[in-house]
């Protein structure tokens, strides 16, 4: 039986900081081609989380989202 071992660097894994942003009530505006809040103002004027590894707010860390994933590319 193999003993599970965690790589040294990964032992520092922790929950990412929560930033008080919300997408509650945010809807897509097809005419303006952007997201708006419940009061009709653009969502982008609301507080946004700071990151250097995300492209959007999905918390996935998008520098793993390689546009060349397809083996055919």
């Amino acid at each position: 039986m193999t003993t599970a071992v965690i790589p040294l660097a990964a032992r520092a894994a922790a929950l990412p900081a929560l930033v008080t942003t919300t997408v509650e009530g945010v809807v897509w505006d097809d005419e303006r081609q952007l997201n708006v809040q419940a009061d009709g103002t653009p969502w982008h004027v609301a507080p946004q989380a700071a990151s250097c590894t995300d492209t959007n707010q999905d918390g996935k860390g998008d520098d793993v989202n390689d546009p060349y994933c397809a083996p055919a590319a």
Partner: protein, 323 residues
């Protein structure tokens, strides 16, 4: 009166930076067609035709709500959209095959358009990875931390002895760890104690650097020739190590970029063929700027919101063709 040529905005739907640029272009009455690659092929229609004796793809992209002629596109703003999604009715292995076909077709037809790009994904990939970034930064005249990437414990110990000072460890690549808990975990930049080196370092590549003493950090957002420098001054030890881990204890401001750093950054952008870059620098107590990394698709909406730096307008200027 001729119809203005459209700008394509290719991004995930919930992307504040894309929203900001769209809003700015809307205010300038520049026609836009925005889509996420994840809409293809189910709710995005592509028809592209190449003639035998005429250079370039002609055809249409159509979401059903908006459409754009490929040959009329003026510029593309591309921010790492989602992957194509194949109908659930398609079984494996045909679904994976279809996804790869869709991915390669849409990506490469659009990137063949001879227009202005922020950033062309071919260039994004070339510039996205930290080991390559260090090489290009030093070539461009920027200072970087002494670094090692290794899976050899003894080499890591030897590096620590050579530095003879504080070290940090950071991931080579971002991403989250899914442990099955409600929230995924993140490996942030953290203090690295060489006394803790053991055989688990052999299990994968480890990226270790000398710790740079910081007076503050700078998120430098570059759009074409325009440089927008946002200072990040940490008020906690945790934020000083990695400001993303304690964002409530970081004070933002603005600053000027030293001319030598600006020149190096522009050389870096040129060699990577980038129009946009989100650079992270440390500024030492003696005022020296030290390059950490440059994300060619980093976030910046929060910088504009909190500092007022006109980053969206610079994007619009470039995409509109006024810069």
């Amino acid at each position: 009166m001729p119809v203005a040529r459209p700008v394509l905005v290719v991004a995930e739907q919930l992307d504040a930076a894309a929203d900001m640029v769209v809003d700015e272009l809307n205010g300038r009455s520049v026609p836009i067609m925005r889509y996420d690659t994840a809409q293809f092929p189910q709710s995005l229609r592509l028809t592209a035709v190449h003639a035998s004796d005429h250079v370039g793809w002609n055809g249409v992209l159509d979401t059903g709500h908006r459409s754009a002629r490929l040959e009329e596109v003026r510029a593309v703003y591309y921010r790492r959209p989602g992957r194509p999604r194949i109908a659930e009715s398609v079984p494996e292995p045909y679904a994976s095959w279809a996804e790869h076909q869709a991915d390669a077709a849409l990506l490469n037809v659009v990137t063949a358009l001879p227009v202005r790009w922020i950033n062309n994904p071919h260039d994004d990939r070339f510039a996205a990875h930290k080991p390559q970034q260090l090489v290009r930064a030093v070539s461009a005249g920027l200072r970087v931390p002494r670094s090692i990437i290794t899976n050899d414990p003894e080499s890591a110990r030897a590096f620590a002895r050579a530095v003879n000072g504080p070290l940090i460890c950071k991931p080579v690549l971002g991403g989250r760890l899914d442990t099955g808990a409600e929230r995924k975990l993140m490996v942030a930049t953290h203090h690295f104690d060489p006394a803790g080196i053991d055989d688990s370092l052999r299990l994968t590549a480890h990226y270790i650097q000398e710790a740079i003493p910081k007076h503050h950090e700078v998120r430098l957002t570059v759009v074409g020739e325009a440089l927008f420098a946002c200072t990040l001054t940490a008020a906690s030890e945790q934020a000083a190590m990695d400001w993303r881990t304690d964002p409530e204890r970081v004070e933002l401001g603005t600053t000027r970029v030293p001319s030598s750093v600006a020149a190096g950054v522009r050389r870096y952008m040129a060699v990577c063929n980038l129009v946009f870059g989100a650079f992270d620098f440390a500024v030492t107590p003696t005022g020296q700027w030290v390059f950490f990394e440059c994300n060619p698709a980093g976030t910046w909406a929060w910088v504009e919101n909190r500092t007022g730096l006109p980053i969206a307008a610079a994007h619009a200027d470039y995409l509109q063709g006024v810069l």
